[in-house]
Symmetry: C2
């Protein structure tokens, strides 16, 4: 009898589910809206319905169910703690609820940890056993594989790369996430335009500076707008320092950078790589270490969640 | 036939060697000066002579030889790269040289990595599998055990905690080591006294500010000197931010802090622990996580080097 893995990718806007074979080949997938605003029960119902929908009709055995969810989650207990973008979800024992319904082992991981597993198995980091994955979007998150193993720590709270402090005098506001992620890009744009900087960004939002987002800044940068280019470069430099920090700690073989802000391409990557070189104490840390964009987009969460099941073989 | 492990602790001022049983009980030790100033050959000679001196006379089998050396070292190739406090040592294939002489497998580790192994096996972190070790002296170094495994990375260059950047605008000078280790404590004392701060430190060095060291500052602090207390607290806060960073990445069970600056005791640890609490995003990171002084002193390097042999069982 053939064996399959089911995985679920629970996001703030969508729930996806898929069935894979043991080699992580995608067999079938379904997708729907999360209904996050309606709270816990409707979304839980959608998750169960999707697993039902994707269940193999041919009688093949489901060896386990993997779930990718927004952090913080506790992968050891299978509990979703209180993700900012899933209102009403507090200490939800998702693994237990799914196990009770489907009688299969369930493995829960946060989205960034699933993303690094996916990149290592099927994406940009295939074949590597020391991998840093960083996502730069509304937050800065990450997943780290060191010596072939996901770095989780005692309660699964590890690999939170976005909270490294770059400006101790600013308290937690001095973290790389607060200083460099999407909202910081937008905030800096507002401040600089208010201070008199010339930019097409102001026109893009019809003069309403509250409408400025990192996406708008990135699009302006792509068209050659000087302020836009500088702000994307600023985040590139900050993420580059973060990568240098992580290189000193993990001495990785490859660094993968994903998330919406990477749509800026070289405008982000060039200053980022320059900072990596400037902030490492020895060239050995970055020489022969590719720093590349993530290869997987929408299916990354599903593949990573399926890999959670596979890793426990 | 009983089995033994031989270990060597190569430091800037001393070479120690010891013989252990398989359970890391110390059987015998010898110690001599390093003769670092005379360069490579005399010190190499001392290492070989010490291994010879400690070799079991009763015919028991030596299963391996572990060596702790100042970083940077490459534990995979057994090469000592170019430690600042071992002049004349550049790319020395120490493991191979010892193997050629004694016909036993040799395992090389940097001193901070050996220290964390020693604390985990025989010191303050016994029984834990997620351990952060930080040493604060003339530099800031570290060793990290995550999921029971030493974090080395692809070339063994990982766990370099002292190079995390706290002040990106200062380049590599903005690392926690440059900002907070012993030389920074002394430098800050000089600057503040030159700026008019009152302190018994000036008298302690007979008015010659170039003689100020972190040790002098620590001794003044112990006697209630306000400037001394503030400068030790400043380093405590910086190390506390470093610990918070490492907690977000590794979610450890215990943090062990060693090195000369920890002689300041609570004057260092109290502000350090306050900073840990202030800079972590969730109490779960530090609640129930002891932050304790290192338990091992002079024999830590020997025990850790012996543990290098033991880990490969």
């Amino acid at each position: 009898m053939s064996q399959t893995i089911i995985s679920v990718d629970l996001g703030g806007t969508r729930v996806r589910a898929a069935r894979f074979d043991r080699r992580l080949n995608l067999l079938e997938r379904v997708e729907t809206l999360t209904l996050a605003k309606e709270g816990l029960e409707p979304t839980l119902g959608r998750i169960m319905a999707q697993i039902e929908a994707i269940w193999p009709a041919n009688g093949s055995e489901v060896v386990g169910i993997g779930v990718s969810a927004p952090g913080p989650v506790n992968p050891m207990t299978g509990v979703i703690l209180s993700p900012p973008n899933l209102p009403g979800w507090h200490n939800v024992p998702l693994s237990r609820l799914i196990t009770e319904r489907f009688d299969r082992p369930v493995f829960l991981g946060n989205d960034a940890n699933c993303a690094v597993l996916a990149e290592a198995r099927r994406g940009a980091a295939q074949g590597y056993s020391h991998v840093i994955y960083i996502t730069v979007s509304t937050g800065i998150g990450g997943g780290i594989i060191s010596h072939g193993q996901l770095i989780l720590g005692k309660q699964g709270l590890g690999s939170e790369v976005g909270h490294l402090i770059f400006s101790p005098e600013s308290g937690l506001g001095g973290s790389v996430e607060k200083m460099g992620a999407g909202p910081a890009i937008a905030r800096e744009a507002v401040l600089r335009i208010q201070a008199g900087a010339k930019s097409i960004i102001r026109d893009r939002v019809g003069g309403d500076l509250s409408k400025i987002t990192a996406k708008v800044v990135g699009e302006a940068a792509a068209e050659g707008d000087e302020l836009g280019i500088e702000l994307i470069a600023r985040t590139g430099r900050l993420v580059g320092v973060l990568i240098a920090d992580l290189m000193h700690l993990f001495n990785p073989e490859i660094v993968v950078v994903g998330g919406g802000v990477t749509n800026a391409g070289d405008l982000l990557f060039t200053p980022m790589i320059q900072a990596v070189r400037a902030y490492t104490i020895d060239d050995d840390y970055w020489r022969d270490v590719p720093i590349v964009p993530a290869a997987l987009r929408d299916d990354g969460g599903l593949i990573g969640a399926a890999a959670l099941v596979q890793t426990v073989d």
